[in-house]
């Protein structure tokens, strides 16, 4: 089913927040890291994986999800977290390593856990698939509402975890949706040099589940495909695989020189920036008025500014509190 104007605005709004959040994080990340780039320096140390360009995948899927639905995400999790409704202030504070963060600074940007909206992510490729299968199993066994969505990149489709998890979900007919965000690159290795099939959607056939390829990095098309997969899961008809074409507008992580990209690719991708494309389309179709648009942008800016301010002003936990929470 096509998205309603309200759903389109919901998707657009969450993409705006995600993009603005990451643009802000990007600037802050570089504080203390110039002129010499040292990952350990600045208010946000460590690796930083930005998801700009991939926002349509997150919003097109999460537009169908409720709080009780489970999402397992990746090392590149911000767009998915924002679309799933993770508290932006506590998420920002976690990225800064502050006491007020989702985990008090023990996780960082690759380990965001928000139990209130059933969101988690993790740092290693292919890790979230098994847990999503388990969450779906839990819902089925407890006869509780909710589906599980595992987001991962096209690189993860070459992991054993992908094949084992799809098989297990199909054997047990579980309400899981496996979502590939195919950004064409596994760090510096191009998909075509690493993957035996042109499109990972065909791999669904091996596990007797629907596999749908969604080209164009288009929120509406993703919304439609995700809607069908999620309805199927909610109806007890088992798992599905979505294979979404998307683009990574930044490097694998901040500091990545991206020398592996063919000449002109980056410029081409930036011209196809999915948020700009979607904005234009919504304005043209009348689903978004100019004044709604500026309201949404202003609202996004306020939300991000407040989250960042909260993170900046929060305190660090005492170093020795690192000893807490090893066990339940």
């Amino acid at each position: 089913m096509n998205p309603t104007p309200e759903q389109k605005q919901w998707m657009y709004r969450h993409m705006l927040v995600s993009r603005l959040f990451e643009e802000t994080i990007e600037k802050i990340y570089l504080e203390g890291k110039t002129p010499v780039f040292n990952m350990a320096n600045g208010p946000i140390p460590g690796e930083m994986h930005l998801s700009n360009g991939q926002e349509p995948c997150a919003v097109g899927v999460c537009a169908h999800l409720n709080k009780e639905d489970v999402v397992t995400a990746t090392h590149r999790p911000h767009h998915q977290a924002i679309a799933k409704g993770v508290d932006l202030k506590r998420m920002a504070a976690e990225i800064f390593g502050k006491e007020t963060g989702l985990s008090g600074g023990r996780g960082g940007h690759m380990h965001l856990f928000d139990a209130d909206v059933n969101f988690s992510c993790s740092g290693i490729v292919g890790q979230g698939l098994g847990p999503a299968v388990g969450a779906a199993l839990s819902r089925k066994m407890q006869n509780k509402a909710g589906v599980a969505v595992s987001f991962f990149g096209e690189g993860a489709a070459n992991q054993g975890a992908f094949h084992e998890s799809l098989n297990l979900a199909a054997v047990w007919k579980l309400p899981v949706i496996f979502v590939i965000e195919d950004n064409a690159w596994g760090i510096s290795v191009a998909k075509e040099t690493a993957t035996a099939v042109d499109r990972n959607a065909v791999r669904a056939a091996a596990y007797d589940m629907p596999g749908v390829y969604v080209p164009g990095n288009d929120p509406d098309a993703i919304f439609v495909a995700a809607g069908e997969a999620i309805s199927r899961a909610r109806a007890g008809e088992g798992p599905s695989l979505l294979d979404i074409e998307t683009y990574r507008l930044a490097g694998h992580f901040m500091g990545d020189a991206e020398a592996y990209r063919p000449e002109g690719e980056k410029e081409d991708l930036l011209r196809k920036d999915p948020i700009l494309v979607y904005e234009k389309a919504l304005l043209a179709s009348g689903d978004l008025s100019e004044s709604d648009n500026s309201d949404l942008k202003e609202h996004a800016k306020r939300e991000v500014d407040e989250a960042i301010q909260f993170a900046r002003e929060s305190q660090f936990a005492s170093p020795a509190s690192a000893l807490d929470h090893v066990f339940a």
């Binding site: 397992t72 847990p131 199993l137 929470h325 090893v326």
Partner: protein, 338 residues
């Protein structure tokens, strides 16, 4: 029949604990390879499929990565999975889900997401099953933070620790030695089959036990090694040496006080471990004494552990490498000779 006369094998004690907890708590379920109608390759899920059915006693595909990962997701979502990793040697195909997710999610979430899962896995050799079906790997699991690790040596502890493990909100690695299981085809240490109460009870995780009291030397061991140590203590007694034998029962959290207090009394320490010698349990036990107060030792600590070699197939080679009572006696005599 009075309870004191009800002897159970470790396998039956494990199955009884699981079935009692499954009756009490609908969230408890079992999954793994051959845990269903077969009742577990090592007998520890026998009877569960018949009582609880395929929904709660789930045979899985041979996909450890997927079902260990699924245990993490199900536990985080409110279930209490008990997962069997048939041989601990198989951990290599699914360790990511165990040590990076199951063990760390509580921490990474700042305590907001718990993973109350039990992994039960078989350890140990001695029956010529080759070097990928005979390892113990106690130290490997105990080394990595976030998992409790228990190693029962007899049926009483096996039942009580299984019950405690299922009720624990942290992940627990439950390591049972194949030679203690009471499976006819494996050969069983008779001392492991002991009286077991019918009612539910727990044996606290984190508490060691003194299983034989003595004054001259402390023997610390776990699992199968406890039985070798008890035999060694009897042989030593004939030679006028009395040994305190400690069954660790839990590796994480380790009952360091119990070990220390015994060594304080005896002044001598021998550690018996079927796991590889270097960088493992035996070194940690010794360190936990000497770093606290080296002056209590009257002799250098001794180790009877598995040599740092892959486990050989041939019977005579494997038996040569394994700990046994004679080796423990010699180690104790070395310790008590000065």
């Amino acid at each position: 029949m009075p309870t004191k006369d009800r002897k159970l094998t470790v396998a039956r004690a494990m199955a009884e604990a699981i079935s009692q907890e499954m009756r009490l708590d609908e969230r408890v379920f079992v999954m793994g390879e051959d845990v269903g109608p077969l009742g577990g390759v090592f007998g520890n899920t026998r009877g569960l499929f018949e009582e609880f059915g395929a929904e709660r006693v789930r045979d899985t595909p041979i996909s450890e990565t997927a079902f260990m990962g699924a245990a993490v997701g199900a536990a985080a979502d409110g279930m209490r999975p008990i997962v069997e990793l048939m041989f601990v040697d198989f951990f290599g195909v699914c360790f990511d889900a165990i040590y990076n997710l199951m063990a760390k999610n509580t921490y990474f979430s700042g305590g907001n997401v718990n993973v109350p899962a039990v992994i039960m896995t078989s350890t140990g050799g001695g029956y010529s099953d080759g070097g990928q079906h005979s390892q113990c790997l106690y130290g490997t699991f105990a080394h990595l933070p976030g998992m409790k690790v228990v190693v029962p040596s007899n049926a009483f502890d096996a039942k009580g620790m299984m019950t405690a493990a299922i009720r624990d909100d942290s992940p627990v690695i439950y390591m049972f030695h194949k030679g203690l299981q009471g499976m006819g085809w494996l050969g069983t240490e008779a001392g492991a089959t002991v009286n077991v109460p019918e009612e539910e009870y727990t044996v606290n995780i984190g508490k060691a036990a003194t299983v034989s009291e003595g004054e001259d030397v402390t023997i610390v061991s776990l699992g199968m090694g406890v039985h070798h140590s008890l035999r060694a203590a009897a042989l030593l007694y004939e030679q006028g040496v009395s040994a305190d034998v400690i069954d660790l029962r839990t590796l994480v959290p380790l009952d360091r006080d119990h070990i220390f207090n015994s060594v304080k009394k005896t002044g001598r320490l021998v550690v018996v471990d079927e796991d590889y010698q270097s960088y493992g349990v035996s070194g940690e036990i010794i360190a936990s004494v000497v770093e606290r107060d080296i002056s209590i030792l009257r002799a250098p600590p001794q180790r009877v552990a598995y040599p740092d070699i892959p486990i050989p197939f041939a019977h005579h080679m494997e038996q040569w490498a394994l700990p046994n009572a004679e080796k423990i006696v010699r180690a104790c005599l070395r310790a008590t000779s000065n």
